[in-house]
Amino acid sequence: MAGLATAYGSGAATNSIEGIRESDVIFVLGSNTSAQHPLVYARITAAHARGAKLIVADPRITPVAALADKHLRIKTGTNLALVNALMHVILAEGLHNEAFIAERTENFAALQESLAQCTPEWAEGITGIGAEDIRQTARLYATGSSSVIIYCMGVTQHVTGTRTCAALANLTMLCGMVGRPSTGLMPLRGQNNVQGSCDMGALPETLPGYVAAGTALAEQRFAPLWGNFANTKGRKLTEIMAGMVDGSIRAAWVMGENPAQSDPDAASVMEGLGKLDFLVVQDLFLTPTARMAHVVLPAASYLEKQGTFTNTERRVQMVNEVLPPVEGSRADWQILRDAIRALGGQADYTCPEDIFEEIKKVVPSYAGMSYARIAQAQGLCWPCPTPDHPGTPVLHSTSFTRGLGLFTVNTFTLDDMGEQPCADYPYLLITGRESHQYHTGTMTRRSWALDREFPEAFLDVHPDDALALKIKENWMVTIRSRRGSITARVRISKSVQPGTVFLPFHYAESSANVLTGHHYCDPVAGIPALKMTAVAIEEKK
């Protein structure tokens, strides 16, 4: 998000999901779209069936990669080198959009200079992708009439995450592939309402509507509503976890998260949670994290409450209560309202719509929406500043949110690779998800139909590695990293490259995040490099 916000002035997806159907070139990076965003995948397959070219950069063969016209089996952690080399080719072959660069952007010279050395041959050595493939990809992308880039955690969960996002923004602006339908840059959100919670300021450095914390603007906008409030920056998630361990954080309120399983280096997370003086967990189910809490607040599910979700394409959609909440549980807004009141704050909301009306006052991009409008239009994409505004499926069409688009310099060095395999831990572990389980499985594992498909953790191992390790399909293996060890079942698969293994993180009993660490993080966003962990594997005795 930080990368895009710098370049465009807004960190959100620039285009609509439906628009992908009409794209001519679709470039997917670090996204198992087929398993994690099947509705986006459906648009990709529709476009592909129509004749659109599909390029996928992924170390694994996922269904979307299998479908691709060009599958770039990139070495894990080297996305930035690839993107810079693509831009190098585009500049060298004169495929860039000069008019767009001149009218809509700034700082082009610095970018141009920074890319001089990023030849496809240089990138081939780093990424493992042939120089010719890089050239062809660059040509395809640059010469398409509408090319779209789709990316996900395979880009962001690396040391170079923020820089790669910024480089991708550079790529779109270089070719003028932004601001028009069916083009742009689509970061796919991992949850139904990640975009909405970011919009509402659930970020360490911003308040609702992306107003920077600690500024006069923040004071001016929110003080009239809230009175005195903590107008300061917060900590990033990885810093919070470290703070629990070092004692600088002594109480926590966790809502709808399961850090005991979802955050890297589970042992230290557990240590941190264990040290807290006071832990409140608000969730649908008694998750591993909730089991550690002093107070558990049972929350209602999406079917049992009213409100809005804002999805990956900035579409604000109605959620309606179709079932009464399970006895003893309450909607999140009710829990929060009462907590605010109990703490002496003001929260005079009688229904979710009251809260939405307040959002409209302080978040200009929501100002023109209302429950009635959202329901009638089946969702509205922000910005929607006035009641007669139709919403904005395509961002930045005449100017960028920040005015001119900013080209940034994003240098790749070999130090950025994160944890590398070594003699003791010879395999590189990629963590990810399976289509039938969601996140830490606290919900999907309660559904027999979903859980039956993937009832336990498995480790994808290349046949060559399996041979060397003397392990066979369905055997149990022990996986060790510098942080800890777990067991999982082996699935022999050519979807991973030799030397690389894949493990989903849905399973509490084989928690992948026991193995991962946060020693390597993105320096800007603080996101840990979850896609790269060095591990050793052996048959479980």
């Binding site: 099947p38 509705l39 995948y41 397959t45 299998a66 479908l67 027999w448 039956r452 498909e453 993937f454």
Partner: protein, 675 residues
């Protein structure tokens, strides 16, 4: 033939709605659902009055085959345990329903479901729902984007000559058939005086529906109806953009599919598939289900059945994580089933040409394109000359209407004996009725229920004349068998069966007999073996090969010792680990076969082991001179319902639970290699 004015339709629906719950196509043209019709018109319902929809988004199968329904309830306390058959517990039955506006393709689908559920092993739950559903079909004047029913012969007009002896209600899948006949000046959404519907009754129930609205009907006095219909059909046929020409010749299609069984295209498609199972949910002929146990408490609960899909990975996977169908095989299976297996077995089309499966597919997997591409690659002449036609014969097991079809009888455990490591022998007795009161014990396996946990198929090891108590050998492997191992003498379990074709006896008489069993493999042969040994004088030599990893893992240890004493019966042990208990060969069964010196031309063999071992043993036996038709096997696949309904054990066109599990090796090799 009759006709009525299109403008009278609301009045007709209104009349019907006083006696039936009338469901009509509602919603928006791209998402048409069957919803309850009401007098006060609601938004979207306009769709039906002007025939403005192409087809329903979902097939109407859920009206007759519920997505989720209870099969039986059970209750227990310390002394009692009861299983109560209850096919209508969820009170969803709210009287007779009329489904108005169902398209011909879906009528065919209903016709097929009637054949499937109401044929052999008559399904009581389906029956109960089906008898309350009346179908008023409307022929299509306009094909949709994915439609190809004209190639399948299932549309765009419903057939009026198709007969189906099995339907208790609408043999054709409809009770009334309407054909819209709009005047040239017809405007969508507005009916003129000259817009008509032609009406034909498809059943007596349909005639009854007509009599209720007789005053609005006009007789076809000029006898122009059939002529008009013919013209409308010609027009309708011209509106298709998709076709599957190969389907017009089922034999050709079957041969072409056989020739492409190992085509790389299945792998390519499987790589893109994301196992969402959307294709099977929307399919009008998909009937597979699984069962789940829902507990109210420790002492009561019910077994529910829920739609299942052969496209999910868990569908064929068994307790030991072995999955006989790879992802490629699953994907191919669905397409072969729809285009070949169903038609071979039931004589009806397995695909109705609605195109829903590829319209909803997020991976854009379109089997019509795949088959058309295949047909292009392999011209008709080549297929007919070079690909042999597989003539499949199915024995039909006609059983009486059995209200206990899915409800187990309660039986009490009267003895538990630890037979081998993780293998127990259970002796059970029906609690309410003596064993001899049951119909003939002809079958190869029973379905054993641990109440509240689930059900498994267990072979019959006792002879058909057993008087008191059945015995079962159960190896601890999955959820249900593990739970069974926790039961004690005096506890109750549920029994359904026996099911399946048993091992032969009469055809073995007068021959040498070789019995090969590996692990628990002796359990299914025991019944035949006991009988043969009792009548030893009718047989030549009887050789028994007992194989296991270790002696400890072998069942029937006492039986084997006893049999070895009988003149003309020999027992050979083949173990991976040596033992002191008996004299055993350390190695494979195959090592011992040549040395047996049986009269191979006059020998029958029964081989019970894993599919891989069966093949290895059979190959050697044939080299020794045996005919594949004299080698019998029992293929234990993932059987759930036991009566050819749930679909889990289907291999090719065969339901292993009703056509098998006993097959000769010759028959086994004709099955697709997916068991």
């Amino acid at each position: 033939m009759f006709k009525f004015r299109a403008s009278d339709l609301p009045q007709i629906l209104s009349l019907w709605s006083s006696r039936y719950a009338v469901f009509v196509p509602s919603g928006t043209p791209d998402n048409v659902q069957l919803r309850l019709w009401r007098q006060s018109k609601q938004e979207g319902e306009r769709l039906i009055e002007s025939d403005e929809y192409i087809n329903l988004a979902m097939s109407p199968k859920s009206f007759v085959f519920s997505e989720r329904e209870s099969l039986f309830r059970w209750e227990s306390n310390e002394k009692l345990c009861e299983a109560i058959s209850d096919p209508f517990p969820d009170a969803s039955h709210d009287g007779d329903k009329i489904l108005f506006g169902v398209r011909p393709c879906d009528c065919y689908g209903l016709g097929y479901m009637d054949r499937f559920f109401l044929g052999e092993h008559h399904d009581i739950n389906y029956h109960m729902r089906r008898q309350h559903v009346f179908v008023v079909a409307v022929n299509c004047l306009q094909a949709g984007k994915g439609c190809f029913c004209h190639s399948m012969g299932t549309g765009p007009f419903a057939a009026i000559t198709q007969h189906n002896a099995f339907g208790t209600t609408a043999g054709k899948g409809y009770d009334l058939l309407l054909t819209p006949d709009y005047a040239p000046e017809h405007v969508a959404g507005k009916n003129t005086e000259n817009d008509w519907y032609w009406v034909e009754a498809g059943s007596d129930r349909g005639k009854a529906l007509l009599s209720q609205v007789a005053h609005m009907l006009f007789r076809d006095l000029e006898f122009t109806g059939l002529e008009r219909k013919e013209a409308l059909l010609r027009h309708s046929r011209s509106t298709f953009s998709h076709s599957l020409e190969a389907a017009r010749q089922p034999e050709l299609l079957a041969r072409m599919l056989s020739a492409h069984y190992n085509d790389p295209c299945w792998d390519t498609l499987a790589e893109r598939c994301i196992d969402c199972t959307g294709c099977t949910r929307v399919c009008p002929t998909c009937t597979c289900f699984t069962t789940e146990e829902e507990k109210d408490s420790e002492h009561s609960g019910m077994r529910v059945r829920v739609w299942d899909s052969c496209q999910s990975r868990g569908f064929t996977r068994n307790a030991g994580w072995h999955n006989p169908r790879s992802k490629t095989a699953s994907l191919r299976y669905r397409i072969f089933d729809k285009l070949q297996y169903i038609e071979e077995r039931f004589g009806m089309k397995g695909c109705v040409g609605c195109g829903r499966c590829f319209t909803v597919c997020p991976a854009a997997i379109n089997f019509v394109d795949v088959i058309n591409d295949m047909a292009q690659r392999m011209p008709v002449a080549e297929v007919m000359q070079n690909v042999p036609h597989r003539d499949v014969h199915y024995e039909r097991d006609e059983r009486l209407f059995d209200p206990q079809l899915y409800t187990p009888l309660v039986a009490e455990i009267i003895d538990i004996h630890e037979e081998a490591r993780n293998i127990n022998r259970y002796t059970v007795r029906y609690r309410d009725r003596p064993n001899q009161g049951r119909p003939a014990l002809r079958g190869q396996f029973f379905m054993l229920t641990v109440f509240g946990v689930g059900e498994v198929a267990i072979s019959v090891p006792f002879s058909d004349r057993v008087k008191d108590g059945f015995t079962f050998y159960v190896k601890k492997a999955g959820k249900v068998t593990s739970a069974m191992h926790k039961l004690k003498v005096g506890d109750m379990m549920g029994l359904r069966g026996p099911f399946g074709v048993p091992l032969p006896y009469d055809s073995l008489i007068g021959r040498d007999l070789l019995v090969v069993g590996s692990g628990v493999g002796h359990a299914p042969v025991r019944a035949t073996l006991v009988r043969a040994i009792e009548n030893k004088q009718h047989f030549g030599r009887i050789a028994i090969m007992a194989s296991a990893t270790s002696y400890d893992g072998l069942i029937l240890k006492d039986d084997l010792k006893e049999w070895a004493q009988i003149d003309g019966v020999e027992v050979h042990y083949c173990l991976s680990k040596p033992t002191d208990a008996v004299q055993a060969h350390v190695g494979y069964i195959n090592d011992l076969l040549p040395g047996l010196g049986l009269d191979w031309g006059k020998t029958s063999a029964i081989v019970c082991a894993s599919a891989r071992r069966i093949k290895a043993v059979a190959r050697d036996l044939m080299q020794l001179g045996m005919k594949p038709a004299d080698i019998y096997t029992a293929l234990e696949t993932n059987m759930h319902c036991g009566v050819g309904k749930c679909g889990h054990c289907k291999v090719g066109g065969h339901y292993m639970c009703v056509d098998g599990p006993v097959f000769t090796y010759e028959e086994m090799m004709q099955l697709p290699p997916e068991f």
